[in-house]
Symmetry: C2
Subunit: 229 residues, 2 copies
DNA sequence: TGACTTAATGTGATTTATACACTAAATAAG
DNA sequence: CTTATTTAGTGTATAAATCACATTAAGTCA
């Protein structure tokens, strides 16, 4: 670690696991690094925390630079601090994940990144730094969260079908779920409002559309609940 | 924030919520601060992370200085990074909790602290810095953990009774549990070994002693389980 | 030897989880 | 316009887990 002490003594950064849903697949937004180390490799977007910036504002800033989005679901997951996790110096990094609605996002290059691209979460096999570990922890946390609170609606359009929700859960948990049991359990929570509309233009029986009752949802988020499925 | 830039530019620290069980009460080890700010106030033990120290080693070091213990249960909970959380400068702190066996610990003053003392967790109403918030998050995490894995044996002596375990759970969850249901569920997990011994010297029917099967326990810790009670 | 204290144990009622297959409503293609 | 195709939507019976609840057992103490 030749640079460890000369380059910078120590710093903290955040790394951001930005997740979205596309074609029933859980996607993560990676950037092509435009700086050493690992220049030109795909990595998690991240940045140093500024001295006058609240920790939680750093991932928000990154998210907004990359996607333009302001109010997104954001959760801190874990802090990574092995001495040699960064080849250029001592950097402790805080891992966050956020859930964004892919249809509203046109990610674009920025000062942080020369390119930005969505990748299939479950097909990624390695990442620079300890980013693969960070990604792993975030996915695990999301999977746990989704069982404990009706999270993830951030990933859906405003009006959605029950099948959309099930696909979301299947994408996040990476496994198939029973349709009837899923619907039974989900509806019984009472956080969905039947908007009395139907899908149109589909070559099959159109599904009912729902949106959800934000108040009940917030209640659940606060209290937590059990959605083992 | 007069000193913010002159005292130190930025630093990271850890704060350690060290928990033990005494008289069926969940206790936390606080130190009487021997430094500004908040000199002479009771606070969580914490310290700056050294440049050449892995993050996770910092709470271990503190724990070992205060209690002499080496291998304790330690879990990272959350990182706190509001700009003004520390009156003297920008300090981002990582909160950990650990579980220690009170009978094996004689905490003593050290370079960090002029005095050390166990406090009733649920009677603490405020702490300096954002330590009250850190404590709160740690307790919440412990309460969740205890429902998901057979955690907390670190808080018990080597041989213990089922009532000890129940008291532990009651102390952590801060509520009464039904004896028969508790025992039924706990025994069914199969992580306890009946050591064929009994309590002695108690003025009532003596209870069976158990220890636990580390292998099954590790299995559970890895996989997680459901102990909703 | 009687009073006291905590240990230990089982059952029935209720709730929750699971497995599973057919009919309904739209479009597309001939 | 009839048929094929596709996904939506629904119920029931079985198994498993949870819950509420009261009595007897084995020791010490006075």
């Amino acid at each position: 670690m030749p640079f460890r002490n000369s380059f910078f003594k120590s710093a903290f950064s955040v790394d951001n696991v930005i997740l979205g849903l596309e074609n029933s697949k859980l996607k993560v937004l990676l950037i092509k690094r435009s700086e050493v180390p690992f220049i030109d490799e795909w990595a998690l977007p991240g940045d140093l925390v500024r001295t006058d910036e609240n920790l939680r504002d750093a991932p928000k800033r990154i998210l907004s630079e990359l996607t333009g989005l302001q109010d997104v679901y954001l959760e801190q997951v874990h802090t990574f601090g092995k001495v040699d996790r960064h080849p250029l110096g001592r950097v402790i990094t805080v891992g966050y994940y956020s859930l964004v609605n892919l249809s509203r996002v046109k990610p674009k290059a920025s000062s942080i990144a020369s390119k930005v691209k969505w990748f299939d979460v479950f097909e990624i096999e390695s990442l620079p730094f300890d980013h693969f570990e960070i990604l792993g922890k975030c996915i695990k946390r999301l999977q746990n969260s989704v069982r404990e609170m009706p999270i993830g609606f951030e990933l859906l359009p405003e009006k959605f079908t029950l099948s959309d929700v099930q696909e979301l859960y299947e994408a996040v948990l990476d496994k198939q779920l029973d349709k009837r049991n899923f619907r039974k359990k989900f509806l019984s929570m009472g956080i969905l409002i039947d908007v009395k509309e139907y899908q149109t233009g589909v070559a099959h029986r159109p599904a009912k559309l729902f949106k959800f009752e934000t108040s009940k949802y917030e209640e659940f988020k606060a209290k937590g609940f059990n959605f083992e499925i």
